[in-house]
């Protein structure tokens, strides 16, 4: 089962000027001729800044939108033509939207999903057991959803998405607003189920740790174009051209100085530290340290290459 996106374009018609008689419309290009392919069992991070076309893509893949031109096929079906058939094979977690019955314990909602997806008894029993263990739901299965903490509820939401052994699961910000321990639990679960059940995972998240734990592949989209599509490790290698050093001085109140081709900044809380970011191939670190010794007496010093967070930040700021 694979997803094939072929020269996909989506243009929205938005109301530009409201009028009683004839509203005027404006065209807004949300996706501009994008193509990619995702094979069964892949784990893909689909990311981009707000308004880049992420959720438009997810809507097209799930059949909630029809393309303006181009084509999407999921396991040979075009989801917007066969939405219900496609729905059988997918699961989803959409941010803060709930699939659970508010006044009832989670088990009641699971039971209903069993009917909606017509899950055979044996499969249901097996999946339920697995999900209860992996997501650690046992402790609160009798409590009405409205009394659960956000973290408990999100774990239950994730379980909902996997109950019917879907082949593809879309997760849109599944860890938003959740504490670190629960986040880690959800991440590990996603990584494991992707490995063991070969469920395709498509994750959009602004949380870099989510992406790095769960996904191997990265599709980066901006303004309706694909900016990068490939392995996360390759991405870091290719774009991590910056180095960042943090220098602490014995003196207080160090003023940021101007160094050519470097970006110098200072955190407001630490007046004795400077942070310098520069391109690895343009500046020699030793030379830089020589310059810095003129500023004051260096007491401490750390250096690291750009990580995924820094890379995405700079891409969003259009540096690359």
């Amino acid at each position: 089962m694979s997803i094939v996106v072929d020269h996909l374009t989506k243009i929205y018609r938005v109301v530009k000027q409201k009028s009683i008689f004839k509203p005027r419309f404006e065209q807004k290009v949300a996706l501009n001729n994008i193509s990619f392919q995702i094979d069964q069992g892949e784990s893909v991070a689909y990311i981009g800044p707000n308004g880049s076309g992420k959720s438009t893509t997810i809507k097209l893949l799930t059949g909630l939108l029809t393309p303006t031109s181009g084509k999407v096929t999921v396991n040979g079906l075009e989801p917007y033509k066969k939405r219900k058939e496609n729905a059988r094979n997918i699961g989803f977690v959409f941010g803060q939207r709930t699939q659970l019955w508010w006044d009832l314990p989670i088990t009641e909602s699971f039971d209903l999903l069993k009917e909606i997806y017509r899950i055979p008894n044996a499969v249901y029993k097996r999946n339920l057991e697995m999900l209860f263990t992996l997501l650690d739901l046992q402790g609160f299965k009798e409590i009405p959803v409205r009394q659960l903490s956000l973290g408990q509820r999100m774990r239950a939401e994730v379980a909902c998405a996997f109950l019917h052994s879907p082949r593809i699961v879309y997760l849109d910000e599944p860890t938003i607003g959740i504490d670190i321990v629960t986040k880690a639990k959800i991440r590990d679960f996603l990584r494991d189920i992707n490995k063991e059940e070969k469920t395709t995972i498509i994750l959009t998240s602004h949380d870099i740790d989510d992406i790095e734990t769960v996904c191997k592949r990265l599709i980066l989209i901006d303004k309706g174009h694909i900016v990068y599509d490939g392995q996360i490790v390759d991405f870091i290698e290719r774009y991590a051209v910056y180095k960042k050093i943090r220098v602490a001085f014995k003196e207080r109140d160090i003023q940021p100085i101007l160094i050519p081709r470097c970006e110098v900044s200072r955190e407001t809380t630490k007046s004795n530290e400077l942070i310098i970011r520069y391109k690895k191939d343009e500046i020699d670190t030793n030379e830089l340290l020589n310059i810095l010794q003129n500023v004051g007496t260096i007491s401490d010093f750390t250096a690291h290459d750009d990580n995924l967070t820094d890379l995405l930040k700079s891409i969003y700021k259009e540096e690359i």
């Binding site: 989506k10 929205y12 018609r13 949300a30 438009t56 809507k59 799930t62 059949g63 909630l64 939108l65 029809t66 917007y80 939405r83 219900k84 058939e85 729905a87 059988r88 997918i90 989803f92 959409f94 939207r97 699939q99 019955w101 508010w102 006044d103 009832l104 009641e108 039971d111 209903l112 009917e115 909606i116 997806y117 017509r118 009405p144």
Partner: protein, 265 residues
């Protein structure tokens, strides 16, 4: 088709989530009893004050008022639920389920209806047995026909409500539309005042509308006021109305989903 267990689970879920809100349940029951008492008293006064012969006896009217409590399908929760989901955009997740949306909502509403009959109608009818004189079904077969007709009524009212709720795809603030339509449904169906009290001209018109088939007709069957031979025609009319309303709702639905799917809501 696993439809039966699905319906059973929906009824169970409706009952359970209702029981979770116990205090609001008792308040609702109290309110219903109060209204029942008031309207019975109103009709008693009316009957004692008038010398003319009315088209139904007092006991028939009282029976009507009590039995109309089986028609617990005004203020359907479907309406509010669909509308809030449309406005919040959560309808998208419903579209990603492998079931027809109207069936999904129908089952849910059916569960809620059964739950209301069990938790509101039965207590009221039992209480009335102690304090008020009213008729049982005029015969066993009329009783059974009443149940069948009531089921069809439920479908009529469900699709009528469903059509109204889909308006949320075009109109963002629906509160006034809802209260207007609900009030209209109640008046037109004869849920509050039996249609036999309405002027002939108006009643003749109302008897052709789907709403009278939702409350007025079933209770007339219960009371045995309609000849057995006419019942098949009546059921047929109910069925035709269900079909018409269902087709209308399908039409609105396809327009609405096309609007979302092509234009992105």
């Amino acid at each position: 088709m696993g439809g039966i267990t699905y319906v059973y689970k929906m009824i169970r879920i409706s009952l359970l989530s209702h029981l979770a809100l116990r205090s609001s349940y008792y308040l609702g029951l109290f309110r219903e009893c109060l209204f029942l008492l008031l309207s019975i008293q109103l009709f008693r006064t009316l009957y004692s004050g008038t010398g003319t012969v009315l088209s139904a006896t007092l006991t028939e009217t009282v029976t009507y008022i009590i039995i109309s409590k089986f028609a617990q399908f005004f203020n359907m929760s479907t309406m509010g639920r669909i509308q809030s989901r449309i406005i919040s955009g959560e309808i998208a997740t419903d579209l990603l389920r492998p079931v027809e949306y109207d069936f999904f909502m129908l089952v849910q509403e059916f569960g809620a209806w059964i739950q209301r009959i069990l938790s509101i109608t039965f207590p009221i009818v039992l209480l009335s047995l102690l304090f008020v004189r009213f008729y049982p079904p005029s015969s066993i077969s009329y009783g059974l026909c009443f149940v069948l007709s009531l089921l069809l009524s439920f479908l009529i009212m469900f699709f009528a409500n469903y059509c109204v709720s889909l308006a949320a795809f075009w109109i963002p603030y629906l509160w006034s539309l809802n209260s207007v339509s609900t009030t209209l449904f109640i008046i037109l169906s004869g849920a509050m005042i039996p249609l036999w009290f309405y002027p002939d001209g108006i009643r003749n018109v109302l008897e052709w509308l789907p709403f009278s088939f939702a409350v007025y007709m079933p209770i007339n069957i219960y009371l045995g006021r309609i000849a057995m031979a006419e019942l098949p025609i009546l059921f047929l009319k109910q069925a035709v109305w269900i079909l018409i309303l269902w087709l209308i709702s399908r039409f609105i639905w396809s327009k609405a989903t096309k609007k979302i799917i092509v234009n992105g809501g």
